[in-house]
């Protein structure tokens, strides 16, 4: 009954979140941090007990809505486990990163973060279509409230757009899931295997519909060009912790969905339309990178860079070969770490100087050289320099895409070059040059900031130098996946 671990992983944040709602005072954030660390410990236990055969482990399958063949069916293979690890690793950092600030109504804030974590873990471990959908939607509510209640700027209209956008996608996915459900054998079932079988039994034209129904949902969540228009505004207006959740973890719901729910469900759909999806992703890479070059607002710049990175991940998944898939999973982890680091750095700059516009800043390195070093490490991770975590993922990804098509890989590879351009440009204008009146106030980092940045830099370097443990976890699952669900273009 190792399956209980999966349930515990869902329950800890849920119960802790509920507990926080009725707690008041200063200890709220410490309870939240403790709960998220406990979650991390449980994930570590799961890692320790993980056999890594490529099969689903920690499975629990308990009837939920019997009359409709809906089960509480959860389990983890290597892919799920790594994403759960990402979630439970990042959430403590995200919570800890808020310790410097005074947050209005903290008990609600932290409980929403924990509820969000519950839903995210649920998305990654759900092996029942209906359960997956419920967690998928459930993740939206807390983050929406976080953006609405603690956001800034035109938050009303922006969060509105965000919600409507993502909900539209989800509803198409729901329609596709129901359609598949009605095509399962005998007494219908939402179990992942039954849905796979149902999807594969459909003819090519129907699979194409399934493909688009699901793809739009995932493409909006990631987001892939041209479904990305909600994203930069939302990232900018959300509070830093919200942005971290959105870009660090929530975005991976979409890419994970591609792997778990799209490709195996509609292989013929992927054969017909995968090309289009890959081309859209690559267009997104170039388009977002070009826009990123012109951004003055650092948060917006990272938002666009995120679109570019996720475009590469999506393309790597849609080529459905083992390099692409491995790369995409490693890159999901790396991107999660890097982007949280970047947003945290921007947050530090903004708290200390009251601006995040690159043209107003400059010369921070002169005042705080240590900060310049950590920024540089995170930045290099993000532009995929060898020996950083970004390199491992992007190398595998481009390799995988190259197997699919050399030209596409060439265009996709532009992300590395363009990424270097916009990242280094912003580094140059923020950190180098002469100190001005805005940046001279930039004092040294406090303990919390140092801890978080050191952890992030360490992760970037460790994964960059020695990615083998991650690859070992995900390897068997990927091999099995490609064997079963590989697509011949």
């Amino acid at each position: 009954m190792t399956g209980i671990i999966t349930v515990i992983l869902i329950l800890i944040p849920l119960l802790a979140g509920a507990l926080l709602l009725i707690t008041k005072g200063e200890q709220v954030k410490r309870i939240a941090l403790a709960a998220s660390l406990l979650e991390l410990v449980v994930t570590a236990v799961a890692l320790f007990k993980f056999n890594g055969t490529g099969e689903r482990e920690f499975v629990i399958n308990y009837p939920w809505i019997k009359s409709l063949g809906i089960n509480f069916y959860v389990g983890m293979d290597g892919i799920s486990l790594l994403l759960v690890l990402l979630t439970s690793g990042l959430v403590p950092l995200i919570i800890f990163s808020s310790f410097n600030k005074t947050i209005e109504n903290p008990s609600l804030f932290y409980s929403l973060i924990l509820f969000m974590q519950m839903a995210l873990v649920g998305v990654f471990v759900a092996m029942d279509g209906f359960l997956f959908y419920v967690f998928w939607e459930l993740a939206l509510i807390p983050i929406w409230f976080i953006c609405l209640l603690w956001g800034s700027g035109e938050k009303r209209s922006i969060t509105f757009k965000f919600f409507i956008y993502t909900l539209t996608g989800s509803l198409f996915m729901l329609a596709a899931l129901i359609y598949l459900y009605l095509h399962t054998d005998g007494t219908h079932s939402f179990s992942i295997d039954a849905l796979y079988a149902a999807g594969r039994s459909l003819d090519a034209a129907k699979q194409a519909w399934i493909f688009w129904g699901m793809f739009i949902a995932f493409a909006i969540k990631m987001p892939v060009f041209p479904f990305h228009t909600w994203q930069p505004d939302t990232y900018v207006s959300a509070p830093t912790q919200g942005t971290m959740l959105l870009s660090g973890i929530m975005l991976k719901m979409g890419t994970y969905g591609l792997i778990r729910w799209l490709v195996p469900l509609a292989p013929l759909g992927v054969e017909q339309w995968g090309n289009t999806a890959i081309i859209l992703s690559v267009i997104g890479i170039i388009y977002a990178s070009c826009l990123a070059i012109y951004q003055k607002d650092m948060k917006r710049l990272i938002a666009y860079s995120s679109i570019a990175h996720v475009g590469l991940i999506a393309a790597g998944i849609m080529v459905v070969n083992s390099q692409g898939l491995q790369g995409s999973i490693i890159q999901m982890i790396s991107h999660g770490i890097n982007v949280v680091g970047l947003f945290f750095i921007v947050d530090i700059i903004e708290t200390k100087t009251n601006t995040r516009m690159t043209d107003k800043l400059g010369g921070i390195r002169n005042v705080n050289p240590n900060f310049a070093v950590v920024f540089l490490i995170v930045l290099l991770g993000s532009v995929a320099l060898p020996l950083t975590n970004g390199f491992v993922g992007e190398f595998l990804l481009i390799n995988g895409i190259y197997k699919y098509g050399a030209w596409i890989a060439a265009f996709a590879g532009l992300t590395v070059i363009l990424g270097a351009v916009y990242m280094l440009r912003s580094y140059q204008s923020v950190m180098l040059g002469n100190t001005n009146s805005v940046t001279e106030k930039f004092d040294s980092l406090n303990g919390i900031e140092k801890t978080i940045l050191v952890i992030i830099c360490a992760l970037i370097l460790i994964i960059g130098v020695y990615p083998k443990p991650l690859l070992d976890i995900v390897g068997p699952a990927v091999e099995m996946y490609i064997q079963n669900y590989g697509v011949n273009y």
Partner: protein, 458 residues
């Protein structure tokens, strides 16, 4: 049958309360009476009794009766404060109880006469209740409109019944169903005409477009508690009747009416949702949203398969519970702010977290966001329509519910992002209980829908 008698007697007792001066204990007596009625109903569960061939207490009927009575209990609790401030409280309680008797007939009728009587007994008290704010012009207008339009609808209904009688030679549902099959070709015009008129009459009662014009004005003008009554009990029982009629009588001639219901449902979803977007008044918005919900429930009638029965019951339950919650909050807010505009909700969350939370849950449920009851209700409807092959309709319904999200979220955003500070609104224990019960049910039905669905197995 005993249940019906108890309920009618309860109404009579309520009328005498003024004369014999036991007004004080009337309210608990009513609640107890309703509970007793529910107990009596459950004792009939599974026996499939038929009374005088007029009423048929099948599982469907009993479940709907229990649903309506439970909603009624919630409704009584919620409206207690409002009625306490009125002078002739006993009359109003009597009216409500009588109208509940009507809704009991509506969900269990086995004969067209009972359908007609049910509609009338249900509606006439509500006409009066809609005008119960005697010195308020809008309330009077509401009652007048409702009455006149309702009278027309009853006319349609009666005419339809007569034509069906002409086509099949019977008032009994069972005989009609057989007659329809045999005489389908003999008198096609009469049958189709009858169905059209019945549809017109019933879609007025459930406020489905294009028979919806009365709803916004009546909802807006009537006192909030009466609006809540219309949105929950009247609507649920009218839908139960609607579904019963088509499931029992016209199941075999689906070709005759499926296109019409398809049209009604699309029109309701589109008109209801799109018009609701432009409303600035919360009550009018809820009225249009209730039109769109009628559209969704019509989808279940159209599906007409083994899922539909459950779908319609679940939808009624989810919508009624959420409506009670929403109207309770609306009543409290409009009392405090002297306005039932959406603006009145600005900044509600700051000092009234409970009210804002309840409203949010209710609206999210109506919008169909998991894991709340409304999501599951919509899911059920979609599945039932999908299973019957109405893919296009499901897509329209999905787009419609997206528009729904838009206007429901207007209120949620206003409550949480608004800068206005609302003074703390005091809630008495009963109101709090109603709020908590309805929220708990909304969440419970959503997380574990088998709570309701399993009831069908008995």
């Amino acid at each position: 049958m005993k249940a019906l008698i108890v309920l009618s007697l309860l109404g009579v007792v309520a009328l005498f309360a003024e004369i014999f001066k036991f007004k004080k204990i009337l309210f608990p007596a009513i609640i107890l009476g309703l509970l007793a009625t529910i107990v009596l109903l459950t004792s009939e569960w599974g026996f499939d009794n038929t009374y005088f061939r007029m009423l048929h207490m099948d599982t469907y009927a009993i479940l709907f009766m229990c649903l309506i009575l439970c909603t009624a209990i919630l409704w009584f609790l919620f409206s207690k404060n409002y009625f306490d401030s009125m002078s002739n409280i006993t009359d109003y309680y009597g009216l409500v109880l009588f109208s509940l008797v009507g809704s009991m007939l509506l969900v269990s009728y086995n004969n067209m006469v009972m359908l007609f009587l049910g509609v009338e007994i249900l509606s006439i008290p509500v006409y009066v209740l809609a005008g119960s704010k005697k010195d308020d012009a809008e309330s009077n207008e509401s009652a007048m409109k409702y009455f006149i339009m309702g009278a027309f609808a009853t006319g349609f209904l009666l005419f339809g019944i007569a034509m069906i009688y002409g086509a099949t030679g019977s008032f009994y549902l069972h005989d009609i169903a057989q007659g329809v099959e045999v005489k389908k070709l003999e008198m096609p015009g009469l049958l189709t005409g009858g169905i059209i008129f019945l549809l017109a009459g019933l879609s007025f009662k459930v406020a489905a477009a294009p028979m919806h014009f009365w709803a916004p004005d009546v909802y807006k003008g009537a006192p909030t508690v009466v609006t809540a009554y219309m949105a929950t009990i009247v609507k649920a029982s009218a839908f139960a009747a609607f579904f019963r009629l088509f499931a029992a009588c016209f199941f075999t001639v689906k070709g005759e009416w499926s296109a019409m219901i398809w049209g009604l449902s699309v029109l309701s979803i589109v008109v209801g949702n799109v018009t609701a977007v432009f409303q600035t008044n919360a009550k009018r918005m809820l009225a249009y949203s209730s039109i769109s919900h009628a559209g969704f429930m019509l989808v279940a009638i159209l599906g007409m398969n083994e899922l539909s029965t459950k779908a319609i019951l679940f939808y009624s339950a989810a919508y009624s519970v959420a409506s009670i919650a929403a109207f309770t909050v609306l009543l409290k807010v409009s009392e405090a702010r002297k306005s039932d505009d959406i603006n009145a909700f600005e900044g509600l969350a700051k000092n009234n977290p409970l009210l804002a939370f309840v409203m949010t849950v209710a609206l999210l449920s109506m919008a169909g966001i998991p894991p709340l009851a409304g999501f599951f209700a919509k899911y059920y409807i979609f599945t039932s329509a999908f299973a019957s092959g109405y893919v296009g309709l499901v897509i329209i319904a999905i787009l419609g519910s997206l528009v729904g999200v838009y206007y429901y979220f207007k209120i949620i955003i206003a409550m949480y992002a608004g800068e206005n500070k609302v003074e703390k609104i005091n809630l008495d224990t009963i109101t709090k209980t109603v709020l908590l019960i309805s929220v708990a049910l909304t969440i419970a039905f959503g997380i574990y829908p088998d709570l309701l669905l399993d009831l069908f197995r008995f």
